[in-house]
Symmetry: C2
Subunit: 323 residues, 2 copies
Amino acid sequence: MPETLPAPCAPEDARRVACIGAGVIGGGWAAHFLARGYDVTAWDPAPDAEEKLRRLVAAAWPALEQIGLAEGAAPNRLTVAGTLAEAVADADFVQESAPEKLELKRSLLAELTAATRPGVVIASSTSGYPMTDMQTAAGDAARLVVGHPFNPPYLIPLVEVVGGERTDRAAVTWASRFYEVAGKSVLTMDRELPGFIANRLQEALWREALHMVANGEASVADIDASITEGPGLRWAFMGPCLTFALAGGEGGMAHMLDHFGPSLKSPWTRLEAPELDRALRDAMVEGCAEAAGDRSYADLVAARDQGVIDVLRATGRLGGTTR
Amino acid sequence: MPETLPAPCAPEDARRVACIGAGVIGGGWAAHFLARGYDVTAWDPAPDAEEKLRRLVAAAWPALEQIGLAEGAAPNRLTVAGTLAEAVADADFVQESAPEKLELKRSLLAELTAATRPGVVIASSTSGYPMTDMQTAAGDAARLVVGHPFNPPYLIPLVEVVGGERTDRAAVTWASRFYEVAGKSVLTMDRELPGFIANRLQEALWREALHMVANGEASVADIDASITEGPGLRWAFMGPCLTFALAGGEGGMAHMLDHFGPSLKSPWTRLEAPELDRALRDAMVEGCAEAAGDRSYADLVAARDQGVIDVLRATGRLGGTTR
């Protein structure tokens, strides 16, 4: 079977999105695309799917109005199709959000490549399957990509985009540009990595949390409070690398690694650390220097402090809000 | 040597705090205690320590004014002492923030117990040493606790409090209450755990990040963006457990574990997961049910959505702010 690309329209010209699977994630995607002014057609085989989907979109809509709708955006531009083929027949882009079962994803993606117009890019919301493993049954696999969102997709900007071995690089580029136009913050990955980037990081934290609960070392409440009252306040606007660089004072990441490097050997988590060799040290130091750009240490501290204050205030912890 | 407690005053009556070590963390503590209206005496053997400390406090002060100072709080209530003994002679509480070297901590804590008035509680800012290992050289070890802050201590609320084998439980209680009165959000731990709670969680994430950079799987910029554009937005106000419960839809944590349980076996991080047995599953489900309290799934979704919107707006990602 020929592998067809390019897509029938440019990413900027896409108008109709099909959401296949309409649970928490698929429904969240539908709400996002509707708010950004797309026509959305959804399909989900569950008997109560339409009711749940419309309830999810209705519940999300006030939030979406608050952050600003695209011109012409309306919840009634959502159509629920009776069949998968009907849902994707006119779609310019397909977002697949079926349950996380590899065989199901495989057959569904094969069905989708057959039912869509030639060249239409199809993205899977999978939380961690590599596209290479999911595209095995598809005839026209060149236009299959991962487009991994975070819950809720209508509010959290991040989407991770990556192709599989049979994916055409052009499909990855098309999808990344489409998501940008659709208001997402896109991380395009050059290579497949189980769990992508953000999920690997949060999965490491999550597994450590599960170990701690399993061993009676901390409660669910302790774990949640330790993040929301601690590092979570910084991570809303400054990533872990730049945050740690600031903890190194004016010496930055270099001082931090030289000072706390030995603690990588400590049993502070069940995850073994890599060897902190010169190459890794330099990569971390240079990456943080790039992130800082021409901002001085004092500039960064001031930005972090203002960020924490703004987040504390926004989340009702400085008084003045009611939540 | 007799081990002396109770403290010479109640936690509510403490007025003078000694900060031993005045780098990024010790200086940040000094700024916090000053803003909360305490008299602060600092000591640090570095030749330029006083200048750096006063610069840190001056830089932090506008932020502290913004969040509201305690009555009478003033940067000029900071005294820099010439010797350790002078710094702690009249202190009602001591916060030790020396460099992270075990031998140094051991001898410093011994010196501090000798130089303070009987019964004064002394807390170490250590990032991960168990107090049991740090209190070995101290004569009067009953009043030594860990009081582990997050950077910057004048803005991030969390402090983790735990004692060592020789610590009197009353000292842990005194310190926890003192920190609460001083405006911190306190996690009191029943047992020593390397890295405490929040550091174990963020250390797991950090080690996975270092592995990814070491292996060329992601850049520093990718890692930081994957958090600030993704899970970090939620973690500012809702911890990882309750966040994951919401991702399970109306089925909550139970559905989440039943659906994503198998992914614990996936290579999504280098950290092995614990066995998801019935006891762990139930502990997670019950912990999340307690966190939810009488809020329905719809209530929680609405609160999360409003939280994300508020954080996006506060961090300048919805327009309307200049940062």
